[in-house]
Amino acid sequence: MFPSLFFEVLIGGLVLGLLYSLVSAGLNLQYGVTRILNVAHGEFLMLGAYTTYFLFILFGVNPLISLLVSGLVSLILMLALYSGIFRIIIKRSSSIEELEMETLLTCFALSFIFQNTAVILFSANERGYIYASQLISIAGIPFALNRIIVAIASSVINFVIYAFMRFSRVGTALRAMVSEPIGAKLVGINASRMYMLSLLLGCILSAWAGSLISMMFAITPFIGSNYLMIALVATVVGGLGSFIGGIISGIIMGYAVYITMRVISPSLTSLVLYIVLILILLLKPRGLFKR
């Protein structure tokens, strides 16, 4: 049955990987431009998931359509956070290390607040809905339709974002901010607008990932932490600040996780994650891809 397992892993790993790319690309972009490591990133994912969940359960809104709403909700939230908090810290930080540390702690605090507010509001119980759970057969292997939809949706989003970053003026400006922060400002790129843009873009991607996840799995207020960890590892593996590295390493992590779950043993999944993180930090802390 070798070929069958191969296709199953190929597709299963891709589904996860594309999803992880969304989350880690967002994190990576935010860090690359603003040097803020947003450890509350997972909470935006969770927010997106719950938004889609409630829209589906209460109003029967198709999860794909609800992407618009969940993106909007997290955009508004991030806007508030940026104007109220991040801008202040960015302005007053005298060094990059100081900025990194203070924002790390800030995002830490934010994730406490969001996660536990969600528990208070939504309770810690699992919630889920059934959407597109019919089986379709690919290469003789049954897959739930929602997985395939998620894979297609996340690859579309990934592609669009990549095209945006690569070919548009704004995208190029963002990339410039990442690789040449000083030079970018010299050629007239509006730094604070870029900061805001990258933060907004990042959290929208995260919220979209959350909405897609809610189509496949049950959600709790704590799912953010899981995906944050994976995004963090993927970001470090890809290289902090490398957007394309974030996408590729997200897919690599997806395969790593799926293969561990499917072929080796699910009990090792977290171990594999942390071993990868530790190894990369020790051997190639700048990541696999140059900035």
Binding site: I85, I88, M101, E102, L110, N116, T117, L271, Y274, I275
Partner: protein, 307 residues
């Protein structure tokens, strides 16, 4: 009375009061105090290294958990003081090895690495316990709360004195210099690697000791309890809240936050976490120098008025 001697009056009074407390205070109060002491030790230990060298470690749980697990494994077969000592020693050795390897990483990477390491340790133990050994939890030797209290009481003074004195030695100043500017420190001839590693290990030693004592509060434990992320980030939060620049900062932060948590955690866990997050947010954004800086300003105003 000359100011120098005055400095020791207050701690002595407090020490005596605390020493006799178990005689007349209710059990709950004693166990509460023991917990507060343990958080003070954790915060002060964390602050000694991370406050001076500005290497923010988020892996304290690894060392707390090590001590925790040593007692869980050997507490029944070895005498209790041996086990406690063992907890400290092995934490020291572990953090020494870890330090040699990781203290090359700076800033953000160091923080992520230490966090990842502590999670790795936790998950490895979970895997070993649940899959390989089939022992999802272990019974721990039980100790009297008064015993725990007195050990913690002694430790809290010892640890504070130890780090206070250490800070005023060449070693302490070297660490501070590394925190100001590591490159300069290197140039001046300080062997930063050795100093950093030893500093890191010393701070982890007492975390291990606390872990190996505190585990006896519970009867049945598993790796998730010992290596909980709480022990990684609370010492950092307490120190920052109290004021990372001052030696009283961690004590202040530890006392206030641990009291708050003990009172609020009973039934209000989520609200407590939200409040904690909000408090942390408030301090990082508006008062990065911590509570101590406010108190300093207030007392300066008083002394200006008076003097």
């Amino acid at each position: 009375m000359p100011a120098r001697q005055q400095k020791y009056i207050y701690p002595t009074i407090i020490a005596i009061a605390l020493a006799v407390a178990p005689l007349f205070a209710p059990r709950y109060f004693i166990s509460l105090l023991a917990i507060v002491f343990s958080w003070i030790i954790l915060a002060v230990s964390w602050h000694f290294f991370c406050g001076s060298t500005k290497y923010i470690s988020l892996g304290s749980a690894a060392f707390f958990g090590t001590g925790f697990y040593i007692t869980a494994l050997f507490g029944k077969s070895l005498p209790i003081f041996t086990v406690i000592l063992l907890g400290g020693v092995i934490s020291f050795l572990l953090s020494f090895c870890i330090g040699l390897v990781t203290l090359r990483l700076k800033g953000m990477y160091f923080a992520i690495f230490t966090y990842g390491l502590s999670e790795l340790l936790k998950n490895t133990l979970i895997w070993l316990e649940t899959v390989v050994w089939g022992t999802p939890g272990r019974f721990v030797v039980n100790l009297d709360i008064e015993f725990i209290y007195y050990i913690m009481l002694v430790l809290v003074f010892v640890v504070n004195a130890f780090f206070y004195l250490l800070r005023r030695t060449r070693f302490g100043y070297a660490l501070k210099a590394i925190g100001e500017s590591e490159d300069t420190a290197e140039h001046v001839g300080i062997n930063t690697t050795i100093y950093k590693t030893i500093g890191f290990s010393l701070s982890s030693l007492f975390m291990g000791v606390v872990g190996s004592i505190l585990v006896t509060r519970w009867t049945y434990v598993d790796p998730r309890m010992g290596f909980s992320g709480l022990y990684s980030f609370m010492p950092a939060i307490m120190t920052i809240f109290g004021g990372i620049e001052s030696k009283y900062g961690p004590i202040l932060g530890a006392v206030i936050l641990s009291l708050l948590s003990e009172i609020l955690l009973t039934g209000f866990k989520e609200y407590y976490m939200v409040i904690l997050g909000a408090v942390l947010l408030f301090f990082v954004v508006l008062l990065p120098k911590g509570l101590y800086s406010i108190l300093e300003k207030i007392s300066q105003k008083f002394s200006q008025r008076g003097g």
